[in-house]
């Protein structure tokens, strides 16, 4: 009984660790897409940021500087996306794909050239990474059965970025639904012409949204290479940007449901490593590939309207052309 409780605790603990980059990227997608700019490029921005963070931390030995570099690199890509999609009204999906592919190539080329380790960056020492924080009283309460160990194992012992990501969910909800900026942001994704009529610049709002997305993807990337991992590896995002996009869709472009979708995907990921070769009663051995594909299958089913209906922001994907 106690054994399976601790098994559950360690599962939940991994779930939060794995959900963090997804959540940050999905919230990035939230801002961009609610403003009407489709963001396929979450993956590329995260990858570029992960590389910038690891490279900077390797040179300077500072995780904080790494985070700043990550945000900077991600913002550059975000600006490029805005330049193509907002200023030049280019195809948003094509622009996102271009950013993803460029980031994949550039990180590998620069990584190889600068560190000569086959695209990896050197292993970062603990001082150049975001360390785990022990929350107040965690040690004291550890001995208390059930709740104490839950607090110690699951709530405490994460790095600062995990708590930041979780705190960003209510903050995002507040900004989006309780502030003037949020109202305008959502309006520009549904009916940009109406926003324009009210005398508010559509491009300016969309640029702000795209830059917020860049900021959040930057943090997500830094998390991958300097908090969860200890260095950069070629293509280390491995589809997490697309998975975040799927979580955003599964969460129907709303912050709290998006968080739940991220936690679900992360739990599936955490289970997958634990279920390798385990025989389930009545089911036989569950193929790990099925669990791996589950988030994508769920997204397809949801989008196809087989489980509820996910309706994207009305103006998403459409460049705004001001009437003369």
């Amino acid at each position: 009984m106690m054994d399976s409780y601790f098994w559950l605790l360690s599962l939940l603990d991994s779930m939060f660790r794995l959900a963090t980059p997804l959540l940050l990227a999905a919230l990035a997608g939230f801002f961009s897409e609610r403003a009407g700019v489709v963001d396929i490029g979450l993956e590329g921005k995260m990858l570029m940021a992960a590389f910038a963070a690891a490279a900077t931390a390797a040179f300077t030995g500072s995780a904080g500087l790494g985070l700043l570099a990550a945000i900077g690199a991600s913002l550059v890509l975000a600006l490029l996306h805005g330049f193509a999609c907002i200023t030049h009204r280019g195809n948003q999906v094509v622009s996102g794909v271009a950013l993803n592919i460029t980031a994949m190539g550039l990180t590998a080329v620069l990584g190889n050239a600068w560190f000569e380790m086959g695209g990896r960056t050197p292993n970062l020492p603990a001082t150049a990474r975001f360390g785990e924080l022990t929350l107040p009283l965690a040690e004291t309460l550890r001995g208390i059965p059930v709740l104490g160990s839950f607090y110690y194992e699951v709530i405490s012992g994460h790095n600062i970025l995990v708590y930041l990501a979780m705190a960003l969910v209510p903050l995002t909800a507040w900004v989006a639904y309780r502030t003037r900026f949020g109202l305008r942001l959502r309006a520009v994704g549904e009916n940009p012409a109406a926003v324009d009529t009210a005398g508010i610049s559509v491009p300016a709002l969309r640029y702000q949204a795209v830059l917020i997305a860049g900021l959040l993807c930057g943090i997500a990337g830094a998390y991958l290479s300097t908090a969860q991992g200890a260095g950069f590896q070629t293509n280390m995002t491995a589809g997490k940007g697309y998975l975040a996009l799927a979580a955003l869709i599964l969460g129907k472009w709303k912050p709290v449901p998006t968080l739940l979708a991220c936690l679900l995907f992360a739990a599936a990921d955490a289970l997958q490593t634990r279920l390798q070769g385990v025989v389930m009663p009545g089911l036989g051995e569950v193929p790990v590939q099925l669990i791996e594909a589950l988030p994508y299958l769920l997204t397809v089913l949801l989008l196809a309207g087989f489980m509820g209906k996910a309706i994207p922001p009305k103006a998403s994907g459409r460049p705004y052309v001001k009437e003369r």
Binding site: C85, V94, V97, L99, N112, A113, Y242, T299, V300, L303
Partner: protein, 369 residues
């Protein structure tokens, strides 16, 4: 999404030649900057790439072998594009197509290759086509966007293939997830052997009969899009779905057929890769060619006559990139991926940036200004 036929009065060669050339030059400038940042000599590196890609019969063979795969995946993107659809799922469709090709080749035993080829083409087209048609159906009848669905289908395809290779198709008693080898009789002839038969000496390369299949596909796709009723319906739906509906065309049907055809073309990559070269099923054989097809199609203005030279150019980049690392160890072959991304950015996302400038250049200024 416009298919690149502008309504402004640009001369045809400006659209068909000048714009792509500007895109290539810009992409090369960006890669030159990257090479400079690494601290190497960009001109020397590019010369090494060109020599590696075209300088020897072996290099040329590899270049055309890569181009063969790229022609298939780029045609796939182009067909969908003309129907107003952006198919990012070429990678997954090619993966599944290869599975179809492999299953046919494993099943036929020792049939001679010329009898197997039509079957393996059918197998690849059927599996790839199905993997494209499902997202098409979901967009047409269930309202889910084909871009997102095809992305998801790429991942599902990857998981499915790992499952099948590890659990079902693996050759017994083997560690790495690969199927048994096909019978030697089924192997597609290599171009070097065909050349030798008519007295031309070529060094060994994986270039095989699929090249001719790819060129035939170009002609067929061209005839289909511009000279059949179906092609007309496809272009009409791509240009204006409502107009198509009023003209009596059923856009839903057209979307499904376009995606099926697109997937089928991507699936033919399997003929080149699995039937032509690997002669067994294995993991990850599409190796990103499905995504590169997007760059090739955009650069080739979604026209077979543009896709062939663009595919050869990217074939050169792939092959030249492999040669590059011998002379310039600090430059890795992922430089090709950077060039790909930049080409997609300039030729695709920023297509509206250069066009107006060109239009201004070609429009005679009114008198007195």
């Amino acid at each position: 999404m416009s298919a690149g036929t502008g309504s402004d009065n640009l001369p045809w060669w400006a659209t068909a030649v000048l714009l792509p050339v500007i895109n290539v030059v810009l992409a090369l400038i960006v890669s030159a900057i990257v090479i400079l940042a690494i601290g190497e000599d960009p001109l020397g590196a590019m010369w090494t790439m060109v020599q590696g890609a075209l300088g020897t019969s072996e290099g040329l063979g590899y270049t055309l072998y890569y181009a063969t795969s790229l022609i298939f995946t780029a045609l796939a993107v182009a067909v969908a594009f003309h129907g107003g659809l952006f198919n990012i799922g070429g990678e997954g469709q090619a993966y599944l197509g290869g599975l179809g090709v492999g299953l046919v080749c494993l099943a036929v035993g020792d049939m001679p290759w010329y009898l197997v080829l039509p079957l393996s083409v059918l197998g690849g087209a059927a599996f790839g086509g199905l993997w494209g048609a499902i997202p098409g159906y979901l967009q047409a009848y269930r309202g889910s966007h084909v871009v997102i669905t095809t992305i998801m289908f790429n991942f599902i395809a990857s998981s499915l293939m790992v499952y099948l290779m590890v659990n079902v198709l693996i050759r017994p008693g083997q560690m790495s997830p690969e199927s048994a080898q096909f019978d030697k009789a089924t192997f597609l002839p290599l171009v070097q052997d065909m050349a030798a038969a008519i007295g031309i000496q070529m060094n060994p390369s994986p270039l095989n009969f699929s090249l001719f299949l790819a060129l035939a596909a170009c002609v067929l796709v061209w005839a289909f899009i511009w000279h059949t009723r179906w092609g007309f319906a496809l272009r009409t739906v791509g240009a204006n779905e409502n107009a198509a509906r009023y003209a009596g065309i059923d856009p839903k049907k057209v979307i499904i057929i376009a995606m099926a055809l697109s997937g089928a073309l991507a699936g033919l990559l399997g003929v080149n890769e699995i039937h032509g070269v690997q002669h067994r099923l294995l993991l990850n054989f599409p190796a990103g060619m499905g995504f590169t097809g997007i760059a090739v199609a955009l650069m080739g203005r979604n026209h077979p006559a543009g896709i062939v030279p663009a595919a050869i150019l990217f074939g050169m980049l792939y092959q030249g990139g492999t040669e590059l690392i011998f002379d310039y160890p600090s430059i890795s072959r992922e430089l090709v991926v950077v060039i790909q991304g930049v080409v997609i950015l300039f030729a695709g996302a920023l297509e509206h940036m250069f066009r107006p400038a060109l239009v201004r250049l070609f429009t005679p200024k009114p008198a007195g200004v």
